[in-house]
């Protein structure tokens, strides 16, 4: 069957693949160390007005010690996960309904296409005016971002299920419900998981930007405050934390995705 391009992974589980993995991992590490070295040299020489690595490390220590980093991480993660889970939970059934019933597709599709063209952040002014300045508008915007990404993927997954496979199930005696549960759901899982990953990426990006605009806690808010005091080290700490957390969540989803789709033929 055809899988969404994003899931095509050339890495294999055989010995050769492992060796290639190791050497590329080593190269990754070399690149990382070299990058930090360049950063260090540039900042130490005074060529650029950025904080050198030791300052940033010290700042990390301070922010961990006084608990501020943990608080920020917790409030950012709480927002992103709430909005993201709500978005995905709604997107999957809506995507299935759209893929399965032509009428539903025709009714919902114009809205989807329209809202997909609006960057979620552009909803913030409206959300703040109508929902106030507490958690609700931020969670809503994240919800919207992850919903839009996942719903399209789910629906694409359902409509691209191989018709021959559905016919094969029918001639084996399957009714519509069985076909839905035993064929459509598993066959579209790879598509859904890709959508969920894109949704999480988009939720994370939207969250941090939302916090820059309107928040009293969170990693985005911390950067915004640091900007007022010209506190570059804190900005670096926040940026690194945002990147590392985003990467960790993405890798986690990728691992889940691979686990659930081992049956897929990969090119």
């Amino acid at each position: 069957m055809s899988a969404p391009a994003k899931t095509a992974k050339p890495l294999r589980q055989d010995g050769k693949g492992q060796g290639a993995d190791l050497s590329s991992l080593a190269l990754n590490l070399v690149g990382l160390v070299a990058g930090i070295a360049v950063w260090w040299v540039l900042t130490a020489s005074g060529a650029v007005g950025l904080p050198p690595p030791p300052d940033v490390v010290r700042k990390f220590g301070d922010l961990i010690a006084n608990g501020q980093l943990a608080t920020d991480i917790m409030s950012s993660l709480a927002r992103v996960l709430t909005g993201f889970l709500l978005g995905v939970l709604l997107a999957v059934p809506v995507g299935f309904v759209m893929g399965w019933y032509k009428v539903a597709r025709a009714l919902i599709e114009p809205y989807l296409q329209f809202f997909r063209m609006i960057p979620p952040l552009a909803i913030i002014p409206l959300a703040i005016v109508t929902m106030g300045i507490d958690e609700t508008p931020k969670i809503f915007v994240i919800f919207l971002a992850s919903f839009l990404a996942s719903v399209v993927a789910t629906y694409q997954g359902v409509i691209s299920v191989d018709k021959t496979m559905i016919n094969a199930a029918r001639v084996l005696g399957a009714n519509d419900l069985t076909i839905f549960l035993r064929v459509i759901v598993p066959a579209s899982t790879p598509f859904i998981l890709v959508g969920v990953r894109i949704g999480l990426g988009s939720a994370w990006a939207t969250l941090v930007a939302a916090e820059l605009i309107a928040a009293q806690t969170g990693l985005g808010y911390r950067m915004q405050q640091a900007q007022l005091y010209y506190d570059l080290a804190t900005i670096f700490v926040s940026l690194i934390t945002i990147g590392v957390l985003g990467l960790a969540m993405d890798r986690l989803l990728l691992a889940i995705e691979r686990r659930l789709t081992v049956w897929q033929e990969r090119v």
Partner: protein, 260 residues
């Protein structure tokens, strides 16, 4: 004895915009119980259309198909189907694929397992029962699909170019294996192919169809004994029938060959 499959003046039209296109024109055919018929004809002559109507996946515009005396009104497990693209469920192992239809029927787990094992062994996939389809070759996938179709105990097997995607050697092996399975588990088989040798080698009768509109052209009996062997394949009798089928397929009236 009552024929197993009866096509009664089956016509199927497809609407193409404002025009209507006749894919199958008053197709009539009786297939005896336990018979193996193969269907050959130029591409687009309505072979798959006829088979899908018998399977209940497509409704006829006119006429009807009777299987065991009952009009076909939709798909059902008494009519198994095998597709060129195998259509295995890639997330299920060979065993789970073979058990799929039994599970739907509500067959108990131990019985399911026993039946699945029997058919998996029958098609020679015993060592691969727990393998995922992605690890199988094309020939093995098709054997799995055959076991899956057999498992729900259909009285009729409808096969749409099942070996069309396989290399020549695998194809010959699967032909022998299919005949062997058919000898041990006798079913009525309607088998579409575009390979004239395959059509003659397998069949009791070869049904030749013509295109534009798709229709029955000629029925050619194959009076060769089973089991079919390499010796038969190389015999002058085989060659004579093969030539006759070839002629019927490729020298259709007005010689469509020269048109192309």
């Amino acid at each position: 004895m009552q024929p197993k499959i009866v096509f009664k003046d089956v016509t199927r039209r497809f609407d193409l915009g404002s025009q209507s296109f006749v894919a199958l024109d008053r197709f009539s055919l009786d297939v005896a119980d336990g018979e193996f018929v193969t269907v050959v004809g130029p591409s687009g002559c309505g072979k798959s259309t006829a088979l899908n109507i018998a399977a209940g996946l497509l409704a006829p515009s006119e006429g009807e198909v009777l299987v065991a005396g009952k009009a076909v009104e939709g798909p059902g497990p008494e009519r198994g189907m095998i597709f060129q693209q195998y259509a295995l469920f890639p997330w299920l192992t060979v065993r789970q694929n073979v058990e799929f239809g039994l599970r739907i029927k509500g067959v108990s787990a131990p019985e399911r397992r026993e039946k699945a094992n029997y058919f998996i062994n029958l098609v020679g996939l015993g060592d691969f029962a727990d393998a995922l389809p992605k690890t199988l070759s094309g020939g093995m996938k098709q054997r799995c699909a055959i076991a899956r179709a057999y498992a729900v105990d259909p009285s009729v097997l409808l096969m749409d170019e099942p070996f069309g995607a396989l290399d020549a050697l695998t194809r010959v092996q699967l032909q022998d294996q299919l005949l062997d399975t058919w000898r041990r588990e006798r079913r009525t088989v309607m088998f579409i192919t575009h390979d004239v040798d395959e059509a003659v080698y397998l069949a009791n009768r070869v049904i030749v169809m013509a295109a534009r509109p798709g229709r029955l052209k000629e029925i050619i009996p194959v009076d060769l004994p089973y089991p079919r062997t390499e010796e038969i394949r190389l015999s002058p009798e085989f060659t004579a029938i093969r030539n006759r089928v070839w002629h019927a397929v490729y020298h259709q009236q007005g010689s469509s060959r020269e048109e192309n």
